[in-house]
C-alpha cells in the first residue's frame, strides 16, 4: 500500500499570519500524506489551524514555508496557468452554506461558473453539464433559477458541492461541510459526499470538529492542536487506541448517546490558548496532566505503531 504515491503530500508546511497580538503560527511544520480515493479527517478545536491547513494545501493561501506535492509534483510555487490547472484539480467545500454562495447568483449561475471559467465548454455543453451536476447532487430542476436565500442550508450545501465537483477534481478539501446543518440534513449530505467519492474516485480532506462525523467518513484521522499535528492514525486504530493525551481528552469529551455506558472523562485544565508567538516545545503542555520539563523541548511526530504517529515525548510512559 505504501509503495503507491500519495495523491497529496505535504512536507514541513507552515503558514503564519501577522495578527493583533503577534505572529500567529496557524499551521506550523506539518507533514501529511493523503492516499488516492481515501479520506483524511482533520480534527481539532476552533483556532487550531485545521481550516488554514486545508486552504493552504489547495493554494488559496500562500504557504510561508514547506512543500505541497500533488501527484508527486511540487505545486508550492506554481503560478499563472499552472496554478489554474492545479485549482481545477483541487477544490473546496465550505462550512457556511450562507456565506459561501454569492447571494446575487442563482443556482445555475453558481454551478456554471467554474465550467465557464475553464473555457473548455461550448454553450450547449455548459447547459448539459449543469443539468448533470444538479442531478448528481440531487437538486431539483425547478430550483435552477433560485437564489441562495430562497433555499435551506442542506440545498445550499449541495450547490456548493456541485460547484466543487464541476471540473472533475481529484481532491476536495471539505471544510466542516456539515457542521452548520441539522442532524437529519447532515446525514443526507454525508451520504451524498460518500456516494460521490465512490462514483467519482475523489480524495477528501475532511476538516471538522465533530468526531462522530469524522469517524464515519474518514479512513485516516489527524488530530491538530494549535497549528501542529499531535497524532495521526487510521480511523479504527485511533478510536481503539489513542496515544496522545490531547486525543484522549478530545475523544472522551464527546457526549455519548449510549446511556448505559457513560464515558470515562479525561478532564482538561484550562482552555485552548493561542498559536500567537508560541514557545518552543509541546503546545499542549500547559493543559496536559502529564507535562514535565522534557515537554518544553520541540516534539517530533514519530511512528509508534504501524501507521500510527504521535508527537509526544512521554508517549511510552503515559500509555
Amino acid at each position: 500500500m505504501e509503495e503507491k504515491n500519495a495523491l497529496v503530500e505535504i512536507q514541513g508546511l507552515k503558514k503564519y499570519f501577522s495578527s493583533a497580538g503577534g505572529i500567529n503560527h496557524a499551521v506550523d511544520d506539518i507533514n501529511m500524506k493523503i492516499q488516492r480515493r481515501t479520506t483524511m479527517g482533520v480534527v481539532g478545536e476552533s483556532g487550531c489551524g485545521k481550516s488554514t491547513l486545508g486552504r493552504t494545501i489547495i493554494r488559496l493561501y500562500d504557504p510561508t514555508e514547506g512543500k505541497i506535492l500533488l501527484d508527486g509534483e511540487d505545486i508550492t510555487e506554481v503560478r499563472g496557468r499552472k496554478l489554474r490547472k492545479v485549482r481545477e484539480r483541487m477544490q473546496i467545500i465550505f462550512q457556511d452554506p450562507y456565506s459561501s454562495l454569492n447571494p446575487r447568483m442563482s443556482v445555475e449561475e453558481t454551478i456554471r461558473e467554474p465550467l465557464k471559467e475553464s473555457r473548455r465548454f461550448s454553450r450547449k455543453e455548459l447547459e448539459e453539464k449543469v443539468d448533470e451536476l444538479m442531478d448528481q447532487v440531487g437538486i431539483e430542476d425547478r430550483l435552477r433559477l433560485s437564489y441562495p436565500h430562497e433555499m435551506d442550508g442542506g440545498r445550499r450545501q449541495r450547490v456548493g458541492i456541485a460547484r466543487a465537483i464541476a471540473l472533475n477534481p481529484d481532491f476536495i478539501m471539505c471544510d466542516e461541510p456539515v457542521s452548520a446543518l441539522d442532524v437529519s440534513i447532515q446525514a443526507q449530505v454525508l451520504n451524498l459526499l460518500m456516494r460521490l467519492q465512490d462514483r467519482l474516485g475523489l480524495t477528501y480532506m475532511f476538516v471538522t470538529h465533530d468526531l462522530s462525523v469524522v469517524r464515519h467518513i474518514s479512513d485516516n484521522i489527524s488530530v491538530m492542536y494549535l497549528g501542529q499535528l499531535v497524532e495521526t492514525a487510521p480511523t479504527r486504530e485511533l478510536f481503539r487506541n489513542q496515544l496522545h493525551p490531547y486525543t484522549k481528552a478530545l475523544l472522551s469529551a464527546i457526549p455519548s448517546i449510549d446511556i448505559d455506558r457513560p464515558m470515562q472523562r479525561v478532564q482538561l485544565k484550562g482552555e485552548i490558548t493561542s498559536a500567537i508567538n508560541p514557545k518552543p516545545g509541546c503546545r499542549f503542555a500547559p493543559r496536559c496532566l502529564f507535562a514535565t520539563e522534557a515537554c518544553n523541548q520541540p516534539q517530533t511526530l514519530t511512528e509508534v505503531e504501524k501507521d500510527h504517529f504521535v508527537s509526544c515525548c512521554r508517549v511510552n510512559e503515559i500509555n
Binding site: 501577522s18 493583533a20 497580538g21
Partner: protein, 321 residues
C-alpha cells in the same frame, strides 16, 4: 492609550502640512492678479511688478511654497493680508473664537435636542408621532440653511422687528445664525439616533437584560443607549467638519464677523494669505474634532479602547512581519 493619542497628533501634523501644500498649490493657480486687485487698473507695469516683488509673487513656485510652509509651521505666522495690510493672526484673534463658538453651539444643540428626540421616536416606533416626526426631520434636512436664514430675516427682522439681521454685539445677533446652523443637524441626529437605537432593540444582550428582570426603562437607558451611542458619536464627529464649513455660508448671510466672512472677502479680493489661512485653520479644527470623537469612541466602547491601547504594539509588529 497616550501612545495612540501622540501618534494621532503627530499624524495630524503631517496631514496639516499636506493640506497646506494642497491649498497653496490650488490657490497658486487661481486666476487673477493680487497686485492688480490692490493697485487698481490705473497702475503701471513697473508699479505692479514692484508690488509683486514686495509680496514675493515673482519667486518660483517651490520657493514660494517653501517660504509659506516655513512661515506657517515654524514661525506660526500666517502672513499679512494683501487687502487690509494687517497680520492674519491678528484678525484670527477676534474672529476665530466667534466662528468656533457658533460651530460648537450648533453642534451641542444638535446633540441635546436630536438625540433625545431620536430615542423617543425609536421607543414609540411606527406610532403616528414617530412617523410624523420622521417626515418633519426629513423636511428639516432638506431646507437649505441660507434660505432658512433669509426666511427668518424676513420674519423676525422685517416683520416682527425682534432680531437684528446682521453684525454682532448682543445675544440677539446670535439667535438666527444658531437656528439656521443647527436645524439640519438636529434632524440628522434624531434620524440617526432612531435607527441606531432600533438596531440594538433586537440585540441578544437586550434579551439577556430582560431575562434578568431589568425594568423596561433601565433596559433602554443602561443597555440599549450606551451601545447605540457608538454610531451616533461617529455621526456627530463626521458632521463637525461640515458644520464648521457650513458656517461660512451662514456667516455670509448674516454678515457675521467670523472666519467665514473673512474668507469670502479674501476670495473676492484674491487675498491669498487670508484664504489659505482660513481654510487651513478650519481644516485643523475639523481634524481636532475627528480626534476627539475617536477618543470618545474609546470611552464609550471598551473594545475600541483596547484597540487604541494595542495600536502602537500592533503597528510595530505589522512593520516587522
Amino acid at each position: 492609550m497616550w501612545k495612540y493619542v501622540t501618534r494621532r497628533l503627530l499624524w495630524m501634523i503631517v496631514t496639516s502640512i499636506s493640506v497646506a501644500i494642497l491649498i497653496f498649490t490650488v490657490m497658486y493657480f487661481v486666476p487673477g492678479d493680487p497686485a492688480q486687485m490692490a493697485l487698481g487698473t490705473e497702475a503701471t507695469a513697473e508699479e505692479l511688478n514692484a508690488y509683486r516683488e514686495m509680496l514675493g509673487l515673482n519667486d518660483s513656485f517651490l520657493v514660494q511654497l517653501g517660504k509659506y510652509l516655513y512661515n506657517t509651521f515654524i514661525r506660526f505666522d500666517f502672513g499679512t493680508s494683501y487687502a487690509y495690510h494687517t497680520p492674519v493672526m491678528e484678525e484670527f484673534a477676534s474672529r476665530l473664537p466667534r466662528t468656533l463658538a457658533l460651530g460648537w453651539i450648533c453642534l451641542i444643540i444638535d446633540a441635546l435636542i436630536g438625540i433625545p428626540l431620536g430615542v423617543t421616536c425609536a421607543l414609540h416606533r411606527n406610532s403616528i408621532w414617530d412617523q410624523g416626526f420622521l417626515v418633519l426631520a426629513m423636511v428639516g434636512v432638506s431646507i437649505p440653511n441660507f434660505w432658512l436664514a433669509l426666511l427668518m430675516v424676513m420674519l423676525f427682522t422685517n416683520k416682527l422687528h425682534l432680531l437684528p439681521s446682521f453684525g454682532i454685539g448682543t445675544w440677539k445677533h446670535w439667535v438666527m445664525p444658531i437656528i439656521a446652523g443647527s436645524l439640519s443637524g438636529v434632524a440628522m441626529n434624531a434620524r440617526q439616533t432612531r435607527s441606531a437605537v432600533l438596531e440594538t432593540i433586537r440585540a441578544d444582550f437586550v434579551t439577556t437584560a430582560k431575562a434578568k428582570g431589568v425594568k423596561a426603562h433601565d433596559v433602554t437607558y443602561k443597555h440599549m443607549l450606551p451601545n447605540a451611542l457608538i454610531p451616533i458619536v461617529g455621526g456627530i464627529g463626521q458632521r463637525f467638519g461640515s458644520a464648521i464649513a457650513g458656517t461660512v455660508v451662514i456667516e455670509t448671510v448674516f454678515s457675521f464677523p467670523g472666519i467665514g466672512t473673512y474668507m469670502m472677502n479674501g476670495i473676492t479680493a484674491r487675498d491669498y494669505p487670508v484664504v489659505r489661512s482660513c481654510v487651513l485653520v478650519l481644516a485643523l479644527f475639523a481634524a481636532v474634532a475627528t480626534l476627539l470623537t475617536d477618543l470618545a469612541y474609546g470611552f464609550i466602547d471598551p473594545r475600541i479602547k483596547a484597540q487604541y491601547v494595542n495600536y502602537a504594539a500592533k503597528k510595530r509588529r505589522e512593520d516587522q512581519a
